[in-house]
Assembly symmetry: C2
């Protein structure tokens, strides 16, 4: 029984009606999104519907989030399209096989990484990298969908290539398609802005009004289909889809193809995971649950493997659908499972319903959906809070547009790690003085604090390691030179969480050098784990001074000329 | 006047006799070392003498260390030899030009980097990387000199290539050379071990005895020359050297050569600088001086540029010579300048003195000199102190032998940075309790400390940033789940030196998620710079709890049910 997913083991009958309602909401969102994201990925529309069945079931089986909606999503679709640009003709059998292979391989890779407990890699994508990446991607998606708005096709992996391709094709635009997409855009934007308050004023409860506004795109898409059918408009439509369940298929590709797609496989595995994991984590926080990264990595890998084997393409968690799912009252993953069931029923006998849906209107739904992915609040906050983070955001966004999505991720991660190391390599040092009348010692530059003429107390605000020990030593020597009367140097290590071997050697040399000048070196507020290591290394026997429990105890002992070893 | 080097501006007449004595010591060391390191670098012997003149003068002009001896050294010679292996025939005109180009380019590169204030890069080579690199290089040097001990030549860039080359050549060994080198090795080892105590017992003061022992190699080399000349032994000797000062030459190389040598140029620039800078720093510490990294980088770059333009090869600071220079009483760089003058005199009229010095004996002096470069104490300490540092040491040493010196440096730096990031990405969290009868709060796992049932105080032992905020959040949620009665979570930030934007967002989400569960989030002991940033970001307005000056103040306020904002 323990092989069953948690939610199924403890399933309560009372949850069923909630999950049933939520499943209808999910279906209403999955149909237009599946068709549109397949379009974005350069695949036939049914691929998006296929990707809404097996991956959903597999995630429900292994995933830990109750309400996360896995399936077609904007980012992996865009990444697939840009990764395959130039390798095959979009929509061709080769393209379909390559997209399936990307899903399968990025899925298997995640399963292997989960087994190796590599879920922690998610932590190395900072908010700024993800924010810049998503913003850049959203612009790229709008750009890649704009040809469809004009009834055209245009391809390319970078913003520049797509723009050039679009400009070349623009003279042959389709007026009917343009009219349809313009009308759809206006409707969608108006609906997004005013539908919810309108429905609320008409007496609908807030949650229901919100849900109706979220499901509004399907109304626009159905309207578009009706207009095309009634008006016999000459625009590209979804067309006849094959009836029947998703095919079981093994996407075969050759070695050259494999070499060409592996950076994209890696990037999709990483980005898809981070995106889904962050979402699962923020959903879980509300319920005081924890999400285990390795388990999520495995579940998402299995879902993508399933997508690759059933005619789909890379899938991920969708923020919008997950939020709507929660809003619709979903209690467990059964909502997703039921929605997959409805989708299978549609595929078995009702695909002609989709035939006359116009691609221009589907593109318009993508454009309005992704425009809300551009979250400038992260950038604004970063700009105010720490310019370096803003730099990472902007660099990553620019790289997405100019270099491509894979390079952008690697560059963003590299840059943010480099900035972190840069910061820790030049730590803040504070000369401490006593706040008069208290036992507190504070930075003399920030407080009216009193120092002793022959004792210099310095707090080091960073763990000591190879990249900063030379800096710290040079800074301490400079401080000592400014205060030639110093006979005792007290290092307050309250903020030093670790000391590596290089730093230990640096401290040794400092201790030796100071002793030759007749200056004693003392330590205070040494943390437990650091103390254990220092004891074991023998450094404490060499130390010319002593280790003190607190800054105050140290100052008292030094002023009294004592030298007893109060060890924490 | 301010263009003059510091030591010259304030030169005291009393220092002159000291510098004069030291200059003789330097000369006695520079002659055999120059000849031997030129041999190691695959260059004609005079290159080592040329490299002892202009670079010394240029360093004296720009460098900040009073006693550092710049000139021919083991590491850059080895790196030159391995970098050029396969590009030309050792000793050929093409090889000489390439070696000069490496010196010139690594010099100019350092000058440019100094101008860009890139001296801080020295900090990114940890003791373990440098220790492993030097140990691996020493083994490689011994291996590359062993053919000379047998009167043979063998080449290659890696340990494996050299060993294979040696084994193939071994049947043709030269018995006279082997006898000479064996005798020299025994003499050098005996001298190194027993000469100093012997001289001391004979009544020499300790410092003089030490100095004599350091200069002993020249006695062995001269003895070797006499034996060869008197016995007419058929071994390879230094031979006739051109009389005259070093030639001014511009080492011309083509683009293909440039592409082949640039990784070596980069590695020599980096390693040479780190090596010299560390040495200069430890010499300066004794005098309470600071060494400015950018100035040292510039001085070393200028010295190498000079070496490249005057028929030399890459130079660096020599640990042994610098120590002997100090021991001989050198007060300023004038000692080096005078030694360069004596060397120029030798080159002008006395080169026939070197003609019969046997290469096998020079090789023996290198082997004994570099064997003391293998400092296993760093490895032993690392093994005891932190296995990860030991891993870095061993990996770097193994890479030097198996992959080559350039890859080894890059790999070592990458590995040590990765380990640092890995450690900071999984910070230590301590649940705090009150030590009974005090106002101190300590880790409840280490101390008998008392906690409150509805208040959870946690100290985070690391700065919060993107790579660890998810870990910290998950750990806090797990702690809260273990203690369902918790109504107040107090984060003690005494060891948090920075909070980046990603971590700020993580704290925001934590605060929001906890509020939904009715748990208040409080902060205590927030550092000044962090407090400034948090205030500015607006987070403190959102915070469900308050910011407290100390852990004790926070616990008192929380127990009393107060919620006043004591802001540091």
């Amino acid at each position: 029984m323990s092989y069953l997913p948690v939610w199924l083991r403890d399933y309560r009958r009372a949850d069923f009606s909630h999950d049933l309602v939520a499943s209808a909401t999910l279906l209403v969102l999955l149909v237009p999104q599946g068709l549109a994201y397949a379009l974005l990925a350069g695949l036939p529309p049914q691929a998006g519907l296929y990707a809404s069945i097996a991956p959903v079931l597999v995630y429900a089986l292994f995933g830990s989030s109750a309400t996360l909606s896995v399936g077609p999503a904007a980012l992996p679709s865009l990444m697939t399209a840009t990764a395959l640009a130039g390798l095959a003709v979009p929509g061709s059998a080769a393209w379909i096989a390559l997209a399936g292979a990307v899903a399968l391989l990025s899925g298997l890779l995640r399963v292997v990484l989960a087994w190796l407990r590599f879920g922690f890699v998610a932590n190395f994508l900072s908010q700024s990298v993800v924010g810049g990446f998503v913003a850049g991607s959203a612009v790229l998606i709008v750009l890649s969908q704009s040809p469809q708005l004009f009834g055209l096709t245009a391809h390319g992996a970078t913003a520049w290539q797509i723009a050039v391709s679009l400009v070349h094709a623009l003279p042959g635009y389709n007026p009917s398609a343009l009219a349809l997409s313009a009308a759809a855009l206006v409707l969608l934007l108006v609906g997004k802005r005013w539908l919810r308050p309108l429905l609320q004023r008409l007496g609908l409860p807030a949650a229901r009004a919100d849900l109706a506004a979220k499901a509004f795109p399907i109304v626009v898409v159905v309207l578009g289909g009706l207009v095309v059918q009634l008006g016999q408009l000459p625009v590209r439509v979804v067309g006849a889809l094959p009836n029947g369940l998703p095919p079981l298929s093994w996407p075969l590709i050759d070695l050259a193809g494999l070499q060409a797609i592996w950076p994209a496989v890696l990037a999709i595995a990483l980005v898809g995971f981070v995106d889904s994991y962050s979402l699962a984590q923020s959903l879980a926080l509300k319920r005081r649950e924890t999400v285990e990264p390795d388990r999520e990595l495995f579940a998402l890998g299995a879902a993508n493997t399933a997508a690759g084997l059933t005619g789909g393409f890379p899938v991920s968690a969708s923020f919008g659908r997950s939020a709507a799912n929660e809003l619709a009252g979903a209690r467990t993953q059964l909502a997703g499972v039921l929605a997959a069931g409805w989708m299978a029923l549609l595929l078995l006998g009702f695909t002609e319903l989709f035939a006359s849906l116009p691609l221009a209107v589907l593109a318009a739904t993508i454009v309005t959906a992704v425009s809300q992915m551009i979250d400038l609040s992260v950038l604004k906050l970063a700009w105010r809070y720490d310019r370096r983070d803003a730099l990472v955001y902007l660099t990553t966004a620019a790289c997405v547009l100019l270099l491509g999505v894979v390079d952008a991720i690697l560059l963003g991660v590299g840059l943010s790690l480099a900035l972190f190391i840069w910061r820790t390599s030049q730590p803040h040092l504070a000369v401490l003085g006593r706040v008069p009348g208290t036992e507190h010692y504070r930075n003399i530059l920030r407080y009216e604090a009193v120092t002793e003429p022959d004792i210099l107390a310095v707090r080091v605000d960073e763990s000591l390691y190879f990249a900063n020990i030379r800096f710290v030593r040079a800074a301490l020597v400079a401080l000592l030179r400014e205060r030639p009367a110093t006979r005792q140097l007290l290092l307050v290590l309250s903020a030093v969480n670790a000391i590596d071997v290089s730093a230990l050697q640096g401290l040794r040399e400092l201790n030796r050098g100071l002793r030759e000048q007749g200056v004693q070196l003392h330590l205070a507020v040494v943390k437990g784990p650091v103390m254990d290591q220092l004891k074991q290394s023998g450094f404490l026997d060499e130390l010319s001074g002593a280790v003190h429990l607190s800054t105050h105890a140290a100052m008292q002992a030094l002023k009294a000329g004592e030298n007893s070893d109060f060890i924490i």
